[in-house]
Each structure stands twice: as C-alpha cells, then as structure tokens.
C-alpha cells in the first residue's frame, strides 16, 4: 500500500469514526500541519455526509441555550483573566528591569482593556494594562496616571509588520458608540506617551482602550478592525 493510500484510508476511517481515541487524537494533531491529510478528510466528509440525512431530528430540552450562552460568557471572562494578577505583577517587575524582547505579533491585533469591570480603591490613581496576544506573552503594557492623565504604552514583544502601524483607541458610552482614535504608535520599539488631558478622569476610569494593527497612516475607516482580545486594567501598588 502506498503512503497516499494509507493517508486516504486514515482519513476515511477518521471520518467514518472507527478509529480508537489515540488514533483520533493523532489525526487531529497531524491534520493541522499535513495539508494532504486535511484535504483527504475534507473529501471523505463530502462523500459520507449525505448519510447525515438518516439522522432524525430530536428536540433537546428547552433550557439548553441559556446554558450554552452562560458557557460562552464564562469563557469570555476566563479569556479576560488569562494573565493572573500575581503572575502579571511578577512580569511587570521583570519588564521594568529587563530589556524589551521582540517577537512576531499576530497579523491583526485588537486588544481592549475593560476598565469598568474592575473594582478599584479610590486612592489608586495609577493603573497598568497588559495587551497580550496569547496566554503568556504580552505585546504592550499600558500605564495610565489618572491625576496627570498621561498614558504610556510600552511595547513588550511587538514588532511592526511593514506598511502597518498600531493605533490606540478609546471607547466610552459618553463618547458615543464608536471608539475614538487616540493616535498612532508609529514605532513598535519605543514607548509612546499620550496626554489624555481632554478626558475627564471619571470617563477614563470607565473607558475601554484598544490597540489595533492598521495600514500605514492609520485606519482608513476611522474605526478599528480585527478580533478583540481582552485584558484588565489593574491598579499599581505603591
């Protein structure tokens, strides 16, 4: 039997469902980087899927959808908390003394920080937020001082693809439905400082901040694009 036949039969049995759990797991893993296996699976899905017509409709319990909804919202909250606060503090300490590493950033990055859902003591006037692209590696750290209304965005592992620029945004109910641009972060290797003097501290405290990857010169539509990754703003201990 040729390799090609082996792959075709592996795909066929995967789709048919007769493989044992270990083999299924191996196929799942392999198909992510083996185009021919993935294509063979798609072909077998197409061949056998007409059999789906033999499945009879069955009505699930009425209260199932709220459960699904709850699971999705829960997953969103967990995504917001990917960086544990203790871990984050340790990282911050390290970043302050370390040099900023560089690394590739996902092609489209839109990170938002929800300020409003974090209960903060009134005396805390300084906040930081981590804009991260996966569980472990932040791309930007933003610090904001509510007294001076200065915001500093420090790139941590962000590189800037050619012909692109990062754009900072603020969104708040008081500012209307669309996020407002706070300007471009032209250079992905040095901190950018922005003065948010025109914004009221109370508004800033409840605002959402975002960074998006845009064409050179900024978003052509006046609005950010791309999927959102959420982080949290945390007060800095003195």
């Amino acid at each position: 039997m040729t390799d090609r036949e082996d792959i075709d039969m592996l795909a066929a049995e995967y789709v048919l469902g007769t493989l044992d759990p270990d083999m299924r797991r191996i196929v799942d893993e392999r198909r992510s980087h083996e185009d021919d296996l993935n294509a063979a699976i798609a072909d077998w899905e197409k061949r056998l899927s007409p059999l789906n017509a033999h499945y009879r409709d069955e009505i699930p319990s009425r209260d199932l959808f709220p459960g699904i909804r709850a699971r999705i919202e829960e997953a969103r909250v967990q995504a917001d908390n990917i960086v544990e606060i203790d871990l984050l503090k340790r990282k911050l300490a390290r970043w302050r003394i370390g040099t900023f590493a560089t690394g590739a950033l996902a092609a489209s990055l839109m990170v938002a920080v929800l300020v409003s859902d974090f209960a903060t003591p009134v005396q805390d006037r300084q906040f930081v937020a981590v804009f991260h692209r996966d569980d472990t590696q932040p791309a930007f750290v933003m610090s904001i001082d509510l007294d001076t209304r200065a915001v500093i965005i420090r790139p941590v592992s962000a590189t800037l693809p050619e012909g692109k620029t990062y754009q900072l945004w603020i969104a708040s109910d008081e500012l209307g439905p669309a996020p407002k641009s706070l300007g471009l972060l032209e250079n992905a290797s040095v901190p950018t400082t922005r003065s948010l003097g025109e914004f009221d501290p109370a508004l800033l405290r409840n605002a959402t901040f975002g960074i998006s990857l845009e064409p050179e010169g900024g978003s052509p539509t006046g609005r950010p694009t791309g999927p959102a990754i959420h982080g949290r703003l945390i007060p800095v201990e003195h």
């Binding site: 798609a42 059999l51 409709d57």
Partner: protein
Amino acid sequence: MGTSTRDLEQFLARAADGDMDAFGHLYHATSAKLFGIVLRILKNRAQSEDILQEIYVRVWEHAGDFEPGRASIITWMATIARNRAIDALRRDKRHDAVVDDFDIDQLADHDDLSVADDAERNDDLRLLEICLGGLDDDRRKMVRLAYLDGFSRAELAERFAQPVGTIKTWLHRSLKQLKECLGS
C-alpha cells in the same frame, strides 16, 4: 426547518462578529438536527445534552472559520457534532457510560428521511445509497453502524464475530469501493 441555508449563514456570520441573538437563532434552527446526531451516537439523553452544549460553544468559537464554498453550513455543523459525539463516546466507553434503553438494531436500520435537505443533497444521498447498495450486506451494515451509530473497529469486530484485523480490511475495501463508485 423553516430557515434557509442563506439565513443560517447570515446568523453564523453575525455570531462570528459576537452577535449572541443571531447565534440564538442559529441554535434554534439547527439544534434538533444536531441533537439527533449526538443522541443517536451517545444513546443517553443527559450526556447528549451536555455534549450538545459543548458543540455549540465550539460552533461559536469557530464561527469565523466556516467557508461557504467547502460544505453547506448544516454539513459543517453536523461534522463538528459527529466528531464531538464520537470523541465523547470513545472517552466514556472507558468508564462504562450509561446507555438509555435504545434499540440499536432499530435505529441502525431506520431509513426514514425526515429532514428535507435541498435537491442537490438528495442527489448526493441517492448516489451514495446506490454505491452502498453495491457492497455486501454485512459491509454495508458495517459502514452504516460506524457512520450513524459511532461503532468502533472493536465494536464492529464483536458484532460481526470477526477479528479486528479482518474488520479493518473489510472497512478499507468497502471504503475504496465506495470512493470508486462515487467517482470522486
């Protein structure tokens, strides 16, 4: 189903943008179909409902991955559902999952097409049935038990009183014959 494929695709596209209401419409239009799949494979109502929830969370997470040119939306969702149900079945076989009082023979031989898919899908089904009809009885039953009821090689071996190696050989011959017959 009362909802067109185009409607479903629009619901999914809006769900990909985070629209939970659209996702709710998608759920209500498709959950009976997907639940039918999961229940037939798992044969336990409570477990099937739990897996159905996982399936829709997955559909939500992967809503942006759907490519309309590759498969119909309902086929795409059914594939996710079948895969999850089979994974759950294999996983729980190790822990002696409770099986509701289903008559597997009756389910496996049940041929009532209650789902009104579009004409093209029916043509595909007719051709596949003709090709399945070209297989020996036992082999045709094997393919159907595997696809529709989630039988593993080992379960087929037990049912047809054959060594697992023989089942594997039969399956491969049947699948190759099907592929040739379907001409794709």
